[in-house]
């Protein structure tokens, strides 16, 4: 009786649970004040300064909400609100540079995002014009070779780790070394490939295949890790059912385990390609830079997109705007490739999943 009489309308902040709580309107008011203070910070200078506006607003809001909540709600609630504000503004702060990266690349990259850019090479080009045809060819060859080498290599290692050597000392050692390989700096992988080909073919060698070897060193551990994880997700019942039917182990792996895990494995491979396709440093020291198309990975320098981007920016020629435009456009192409690979991985993961597990 008394309880129901005392219960107020939901909007009225007087029950014991909602007492001394800030309403949404009050929180919004603190936010508005913060935005206004942020605006004041650049109004005196005349021109809008978006970065300063956002930063000052966030700082003011954090301080303001803490003080107001401290007075209205008490210490614990104030701290809670402060942390919510801090975590959210950290997110906003992080999104700013990342959004700026993408926006800058799109804005400047579209200056030279034309048909000529994709069909021409840099042979004989000093000023305007020129394109990335040779770099696209180089990237496709080098990354393709690296994929051809690292996928069987990585997949069989994963099969060993998950199916054959599970729990053995050797498997543990291999796993540890795969972890170490994941951490190899890309430039060190490049130096390794350079050193190997120099010892075989003599000093100063540059070739596409050396670049592919460097990328293989970087790509294999990624493939191993993702494939192993996927193989382990395959339910043991499937294997046992297959053994019970008298199917030998290798056929069980080929016909039962791999098809079940194939979606995850292919997704992992595509993500690994996305990771290495933008590698610059190892290709800089192994494949080098050429002005024209080179179809032969075993002979001579071969330009790839990231290396092209780097050189067009640091050695843009005269006037520098031509080279820089090419650099930004090539960077845009790189980002688009990475995004396409990412989306592709998502789609493949969905499409290829066996029906029972979808």
């Amino acid at each position: 009786m008394t309880l129901t009489e005392q219960r107020p309308a939901p909007t009225e902040p007087s029950s014991s649970i909602t007492a001394n709580r800030m309403t949404r309107v009050q929180v919004g008011a603190v936010g508005l004040v913060a935005v206004a203070v942020g605006a004041l910070s650049w109004l005196s200078s005349g021109s809008p300064n978006w970065a300063r506006w956002i930063v000052v607003t966030l700082v003011t809001y954090c301080v303001g909400i803490y003080i107001v909540a401290r007075i209205v709600e008490g210490r614990r609630q104030a701290l809670d609100r402060l942390m919510l504000a801090l975590v959210t503004s950290a997110f906003a702060l992080v999104v700013m540079p990342l959004a700026s990266v993408i926006w800058t690349v799109i804005e400047r990259g579209t200056n030279r995002f034309d048909a000529e850019f994709f069909t021409e090479t840099m042979r004989g080009v000093t000023g305007e014009g020129g394109g990335i045809y040779h770099a696209i060819v180089g990237t496709l060859i080098v990354t393709g070779l690296a994929t051809l080498m690292s996928v069987p290599f990585g997949l069989f290692t994963a099969i060993y780790l998950a199916e054959y050597g599970h729990g053995t000392k050797l498997a543990k050692a291999i796993q540890a070394m795969v972890d170490v390989m994941t951490g190899i700096p890309s430039i060190v992988a490049g130096l390794f490939a350079y050193a190997m080909f120099e010892l075989i073919f003599g000093p100063g060698t540059r070739s596409g295949i050396a670049g592919a070897v460097a990328l293989t060193v970087l790509m294999t551990p990624v493939v191993v890790r993702s494939s192993e994880e996927m193989l382990r997700l395959v339910p043991n019942e499937l294997r046992e059912a297959s053994y019970a039917l008298g199917v030998p182990k290798w056929k069980t792996i080929v016909k039962v385990v791999l098809p079940t895990a194939i979606a995850g494995i292919i997704t992992g491979v595509v993500l690994a390609i996305a990771r290495v396709i933008g590698e610059t440093a190892p290709l800089l020291v192994t494949a080098g830079l050429a002005q024209g198309v080179n179809w032969n990975p075993f002979d001579g320098r071969m330009t790839t997109l990231p290396v092209f981007t780097y050189y067009q920016y640091v050695q843009p020629g005269v006037p520098p705007s031509n080279g820089q435009d090419r650099a930004w456009a090539a960077a845009l192409v790189l980002i688009i490739i990475v995004m396409v690979l990412f989306t592709l991985a998502r789609i493949l993961a969905h499409v290829l999943k066996p029906k029972g597990l979808r």
Binding site: Q77, D80, R108, Y160, G183, P185, V217, L245, G246
Partner: protein, 318 residues
């Protein structure tokens, strides 16, 4: 689909081909084992080839270079660790906050797309970050941040100046590296935060904890080892990061903690990228020797990360 393709009379497959199956098993198992061993061989080859190529540096006549190898590599090593340390200092708190935001604060539906966005950013090539750093970030910092730091905090050795007008400083590099390693640390932290047992969280809330108190009591202790190993992985990546540093930094052969001037210690990786294409003879060997040093540094960092991760997770599982 393939699973159900297996005919009901499975023994008809295995029985007549038993000898070939055994052979098949041996070949298939052998290939797998070989691939596994090849991993060990590859890693050994990386160390071996680098060592063989680096060796002539140490055997060279003292007059070949102006300075000994240790005095050549010391500023580079310092620069490498200094840049990576600063980047981690900037990135770690932000990464943990963003991971918490995605795992515990953001609306569920948005959280998935944020997670996807962050994963995507981890794959943006470093050369793109380098271009952005030199073309966008460096001018902003040198215009509005560095002069202010020099005027107001110049008494600290870090901001002693003179402030660079081009923005090609250690601090710009650190900010760019921080932006680059943020997605990695965030991704790993988010994973462990999401794995926090629901019962722990609910127990904390049931005792009257606010959301932040719940996070401090349940989520952070559970995710600590994951965050640390994520941070170490980010540190490893920052140590080996090449192109962004090579594009942005204006290097000099010195050791200094001043982060806003034009005179900066270079990093090992960037030094290799800048000098390698134009080097020949013993200079190449010396650069490879510095690469070997970098290899060992990252090796140690990664080994530490793995040890922390293993220790932490086994504790959490038990």
């Amino acid at each position: 689909m393939t699973i159900t393709d297996t005919p009901p009379g499975g023994d008809t497959i295995a029985a007549p081909t038993e000898t070939t199956s055994k052979l098949g098993d041996r070949i298939f198992g052998g290939i797998s084992l070989g691939a596994g061993i090849l991993i060990l061989v590859t890693l050994a080859a990386v160390a071996l080839f680098l060592f063989v190529e680096a060796w002539p540096t140490f055997g060279a006549e003292p007059s070949t270079f102006n300075e000994s190898f240790s005095s050549y590599v010391a500023p580079l090593l310092f620069g490498t660790i200094w840049a990576a340390f600063l980047a981690l200092l900037l990135a770690l708190p932000l990464a943990v906050a963003v991971a918490l935001f995605v795992s515990h604060y953001a609306p569920k539906r948005l959280a998935v797309s944020f997670g996807y966005f962050i994963d995507l950013l981890a794959a943006i090539p470093s050369v793109v970050f380098g271009l952005w750093g030199i073309a966008v970030l460096a001018p902003i910092l040198s215009r509005s941040v560095y002069p202010w730091l020099e005027d107001n905090l110049g008494f600290l050795p870090f901001f002693a100046g003179p402030a660079s007008t081009s923005g090609r400083t250690m601090m710009t590099v650190a900010v760019v590296l921080a932006v680059m390693i943020l997605p990695i640390i965030t991704a790993i932290s988010r994973e462990v935060f999401l794995q926090t047992p629901r019962l722990h969280e609910e127990a904390s809330l049931a005792l009257g904890a606010t959301k932040w108190e719940m996070i401090r009591q349940a989520v952070l202790p559970y995710g600590r080892s994951g965050v640390i190993s994520g941070a170490m992985l980010g540190l490893g990546r920052a140590l080996g990061e090449t192109m962004a540093v090579a594009i942005i930094l204006s290097p000099a052969n010195i050791i200094t903690v001043n982060v806003i001037s034009n005179q900066n210690p270079n990093t090992i990786a960037a030094n290799i990228a800048l000098k390698f294409p134009e080097s020949a003879g013993l200079n190449v060997n010396r650069l490879i020797a510095t690469g070997l040093v970098l290899f060992f540094v990252t090796f140690i960092v990664n080994a530490l990360a793995r040890r922390i991760a293993n220790a932490g997770f086994s504790g959490a599982d038990g």
